[in-house]
């Protein structure tokens, strides 16, 4: 082994060009693979950092028939399911929130979570200082407790380990700090504090069933499977259907059910396809790179074939020669792998800077698992590259090899066929990668072209929370909102101002049942639960929404005015497919009797119809099966604590941040104005994941294309070199340069054409894998197919042209000089 290693080092130093080309190719390919595997490991493979993470489950209420494929959970659900002690060791509710800490002039908005005291028990989290919540902290009157993150603790109470029992003012109320969690607790990367949920009897009442505001996590009893837990929950739901017959019809028609899923599975549900797609992409790049290296090795082995034949004739074995060549390729692969790992750390930083949502907070590094994976790849590459040329030697006749040179300079048919197959496979793989990148690019363009239903340019947005202590009811919140909006309109440069409870692409969504006067669902048809948004006067104008009929919510729609509602076109069509929606009446069904009309003052009169707005995701349909539109209520009539201001200006919206903040402070200096950014930035945030995936796919495809072009150029150049004397003979016999050019180009064309056809076939076979990532683009889109094939053929054509021109300019005399 040492002898082989020494010989390998000597040979590689002698053939530095070959060594450098091989190491560079392998380093690039292995770096990409190591980086993406680090992502795969962090996102998909690494278990959650909690004890027995495979016992953690989540569940949520779903009403697909009403258009709600994934809701949340209600407080009554939590208490019902707590009774299922045979199945759940712990159950907890949690929701994201944000609070204001501090007071005059130094109010800060801090993101956090409200959790039932069982939350930390379910996750089995140990605090850094103090304690986690106990059940008593969830009782009303004793619930003003808070746990801080390590980062927030260090900011507010640097160095103090006796922080338990300290007061912290939250939303104007005093809270006791009971504990500090370590920075390793990364359940939600944004949360910096946790407060206990305390439920009143009203929260737990049956009329709050299916008011789904909470997410749920549970820890299964040891030995209980997810399927068993699902059966228990299904049985519980079935019992409740009988207990509450008023809702039975609606729930049955809405196909209400509660999926129980492994918590880790749920976390990676959306990320998995993207990450796997990227993983497949880099593996293809590695294969293409390996083909280049195998070709280089094959060429090198051909040059040494007489040496190998002589060694064999002197008594060595094929196995011994294979050992030597594998040692050489192992050395090259190891150096390439080590270099690749260095490059991978930079690549990982680049991947993180792309801002993929699901990578936030993940610890992605070249850890021992990534090292092990890279080592496996290195070993596989070394074996394939080292053994590949020797496969030909095993089949060869020694005498032929020794006598080989001197006839006409034509390379053996077998060697040429092998090189062709390798290059054809490269072209095929490169085309598959290019197709993927092309389809993602086309999808991205479609997404960019989507009509959002509003104009995000020149709009500043930012959030406000009305703390319950100072804004205890709707009237207070409505009045404050009205004063703020009025004050905003006085700011120079403001063209329009308003507010909403659900800014597009924000995190606050609400679906709620609604029905129309005289509307009776057909048998089996569900009541619908469209998106519900509350808006102030001026909101639609600030957002640039198009009015189809009637009017927007405006200053007339005060708290005491008759209740107004604006619907979008899909919702209007749902209830009045043939008629005019204006002036019609709608109502929010009561859980006690969803068909019963409301009191007279609770009817909602349709005052306007607007074009549909994209609220949750740019790609989410605003119309079609299972999509029921949106309705807009007047904020003063349905006020709630969290709102987003929208301010339209003719200037750069960021120039308004200071004046807007000052305007809010004039109304209430303790109100924090946070998450301030232009609406364009929110839209841009929606595009980050798709853009990042597309950019990575394009990157891999371009690397593959480059490697493929190098492979074609290298293989064809080598062919031309081997056939120099044959070309000289042909020219001596009368072949003109154009005929030689055509001869070499057609050799390249056959390989490229075969690879292109194979690649197209491969792309079609793999179309189901990529379809889930596409938007309004079919995996067989002929324009993309044609464009991608065109690019590949152009690049491959250029790669063929250089060696062909070299062949055509051969001097027959020099080529034939054999004395």
């Amino acid at each position: 082994m040492v002898q082989d290693l020494t010989l390998a080092l000597r040979l590689l130093f002698k053939e530095r060009g070959f060594a450098v080309a091989t190491i560079a190719t392998l380093a690039l390919c292995l770096a990409a693979n190591a980086a993406i595997f680090a992502v795969v490991n962090a996102v998909l493979l690494r278990p959650l950092p909690y004890p027995a993470p495979d016992r953690l489950v989540t569940m949520f209420n779903a009403y697909p028939g009403a258009g709600v494929t994934r809701g949340s959970n209600g407080v009554p659900d939590y208490f019902d399911r707590l009774q299922e002690e045979d199945v759940f060791e712990e159950l907890a509710l949690y929701m994201s929130t944000s609070v204001t800490i501090g007071g005059h002039g130094d109010a800060q908005r801090i993101p956090g979570m409200t959790v039932t005291p069982s939350f930390f028990r379910a996750l089995r989290v140990q605090p850094l200082h103090g304690r986690v919540f106990d059940d008593a902290d969830g009782e009303i009157g004793r619930h003003r407790k808070v746990i801080l993150s390590e980062g927030l603790w260090q900011r507010l109470f640097p160095g103090r380990t006796d922080v338990a029992g300290t007061d912290l003012r939250i939303d104007g109320e005093p809270y006791d700090v009971v504990g500090v969690l370590p920075s390793s607790f990364g359940f939600d990367p944004d949360s910096q504090l946790w407060m206990p949920a305390a439920f009143s009897p009203a929260d737990r009442a049956d009329n709050r069933r299916h008011s789904n505001d909470w997410r749920m996590i549970g820890r299964l009893v040891h030995g209980v499977t997810v399927m068993q837990a699902q059966r228990h929950i299904d049985a519980l739901n079935a019992r409740n259907l009988e207990r509450f017959p008023a809702l039975k019809g609606f729930l049955t028609n809405a196909r209400f059910h509660t999926p129980v899923i492994l918590f880790q599975e749920d976390l990676v549900r959306q990320t998995r396809p993207v990450v796997l797609l990227l993983w497949a992409g880099v593996l293809l790049v590695l294969i293409i790179g390996c083909v280049n290296v195998a070709n280089l090795a094959s060429v090198r082995a051909s040059a040494r074939s007489r040496e190998f034949a002589t060694r064999l004739s002197l008594g060595t074995t094929t196995g011994r020669i294979v050992q030597q060549t594998v040692t050489e390729s192992l050395l090259l692969s190891a150096i390439g792998g080590a270099t690749g790992l260095l490059v991978a750390t930079w690549m990982l930083r680049g991947i993180q800077s792309l801002g993929l949502e699901d990578l936030r907070g993940k610890n992605m590094a070249v850890d021992w698992q990534t090292l092990a994976y890279t080592f496996l790849l290195v070993a596989a590459v070394a074996t394939v590259v080292g053994m590949w040329p020797m496969l030909a030697l095993r089949r060869a006749n020694l005498a032929d090899i020794i006598r080989e040179e001197g006839r006409s300079g034509t390379p053996t048919r077998h060697a040429r066929a092998t090189r062709r197959i390798l290059v054809t496979s490269q072209v095929a793989f490169a085309l598959v990668l290019l197709m993927g990148a092309g389809l993602l690019l086309a999808s991205f363009e479609r997404v960019l072209a989507v009509d959002l239903g509003f104009r995000p340019d020149h709009v500043l947005t930012g959030d406000i929370n009305f703390p319950p202590a100072r804004y205890p009811d709707q009237a207070a919140m409505g009045m404050a909102a009205d004063r703020i909006v009025t004050e905003l309109r006085r700011v120079p440069g403001v063209a329009a101002a308003g507010l909403t409870t659900s800014i597009p692409f924000g995190r606050e969504y609400s679906d709620s049942m609604i029905s129309a006067e005289g509307y009776k669902p057909a048998p089996g048809e569900s009541f619908v639960a469209p998106s519900r948004v509350r808006v102030s006067d001026g909101y639609f104008q600030a957002m640039g929404v198009s009015l189809v009929a009637g009017r927007f919510i405006d200053a007339r729609d005060t708290e005491t005015a008759p209740r107004a509602i604006v619907v979008d076109e899909p919702l209007a069509r749902r209830f009045w497919p043939n008629g005019n929606a204006l002036g019609r009446r709608m109502y929010l069904p009561s859980r006690d009797d969803i068909l019963a009309p409301p009191p007279e003052d609770e009817w909602l009169t349709v005052v306007g119809v607007v074009k549909p707005m994209r609220l949750r995701a740019i790609e989410r349909n605003v119309a079609g099966p299972g999509v029921f539109g949106t309705y807009f209520l007047s904020y003063p009539q349905f006020a709630e604590g969290h709102v987003t201001l929208t301010v339209r200006t003719q200037h750069d919206p960021e120039t308004l941040i200071g004046p807007v903040r000052a305007a809010i402070a004039r109304i209430d200096p303790e109100l924090a104005f946070y998450d301030v950014r232009p609406m364009d930035a929110r839209v841009e945030g929606e595009l980050i994941d798709r853009r990042a995936t597309m950019l990575l796919a394009i990157g891999f495809a371009l690397v593959a294309l480059l490697l493929c072009a190098i492979g074609i150029y290298g293989a064809l150049s080598y062919e031309v070199r081997l056939r120099t004397r044959e070309i000289g003979i042909r020219m001596a016999l009368g072949a003109d340069p154009r005929r030689i050019l055509g001869m070499v180009l057609s050799e390249g064309a056959v390989v490229v054409a075969a690879g292109t056809l194979l690649g197209l076939g491969g792309s079609l076979l793999l179309r189901t894998s990529i379809e889930s990532h596409l938007y309004q683009v079919r995996a067989t889109d002929p324009v993309v197919l044609g464009a991608v094939a065109g690019v590949l053929l152009l690049v491959a054509g250029l790669a063929c042209t250089l060696p062909a021109r070299r062949a055509a300019s051969t001097n027959p005399t020099n080529a034939l000089a054999d004395q």
Binding site: R407, S408, A732, L733, G734, T813, L816, Q819
Partner: protein, 242 residues
């Protein structure tokens, strides 16, 4: 190296050459390579006339410039100076395309190392020059069949060069050189890699071709081979010996 001063309206052949005009005529042909500040000459002031129907042998020690001269006369080499007329056409003034047309029509070349194409059968190797001359396929078939028969290698037409002996390969090489009925055959050491019996067989063949009217110009070290011809030209250090 060449000044294009004349054009070629039709490719000349042997029938178009007037009676006493030499087939090949050179005046002051020279070839050199730059070496440092100066030049190293391979051929100096070559003055040569070869008439149609001659069988000429070029002889001389190694390095005398024999093969270089042959490749210049065969129009494989374009980097030389002087004047060279072929069939009365001033080759030194013609463009590469025009020279290639004349070469294709009138010259057949036989190589010392045979230079057959390994991937082509005997039949295909012989057919190759005809395909480069755009001879229709049906005509090619009959011409090649005729040549195979003349050379007595019909039975070997489907074999590959690696399946033939050296002498058989050179026979195929000669057959390939004559298949297009060239006016002149240039042979560079045609028996250099052959056994003496095989060499004799090739030289007899050349003699027969010459008797049938083909002009032959061979480079050879062998006095025995030179004896088959009717004139010997000697080169030494690039100069023609008078």
């Amino acid at each position: 190296m060449f000044k294009r001063t004349s054009s070629l309206s039709a490719v000349p052949d042997i029938a178009s050459v007037p009676g006493n005009t030499p087939l090949i005529s050179t005046r002051g042909v020279e070839k050199s390579y730059p070496t440092g500040p100066g030049q190293t000459y391979v051929l100096r002031r070559i003055m040569l006339d070869i008439k149609p129907g001659e069988f000429v042998s070029i002889m001389g020690p190694s390095g005398a410039g024999k093969s270089t001269l042959l490749h210049i006369l065969g129009m494989h080499d374009a980097t030389w100076s002087g004047e060279y007329d072929f069939m009365g056409q001033p080759i030194h003034t013609l463009a590469p395309k025009q020279r290639a047309a004349i070469q294709k029509r009138n010259i057949g070349f036989v190589f010392q190392s045979y230079h057959l194409l390994d991937d082509l059968t005997v039949y295909e190797n012989i057919e190759l020059p005809l395909s480069y001359r755009d001879v229709p396929k049906s005509e090619r078939q009959s011409i090649v069949a005729d040549v195979l028969d003349r050379f007595g290698i019909v039975a070997k037409k489907d074999l590959y060069p690696s399946q033939l002996s050296g002498g058989q390969q050179q026979l195929v090489g000669v057959a390939r050189a004559v298949v297009a009925n060239p006016a002149v055959i240039l042979a560079d050491e045609p028996t250099g890699n052959l056994h003496s019996d095989q060499g004799r067989e090739i030289m007899e063949l050349f003699k027969k071709l010459n008797e049938q009217g083909t002009t032959i110009l061979q480079v050879t070290h062998s006095e025995a081979n030179a004896a088959y011809g009717n004139r010997v030209i000697r080169l030494r250090d690039g100069f023609l010996e008078s």
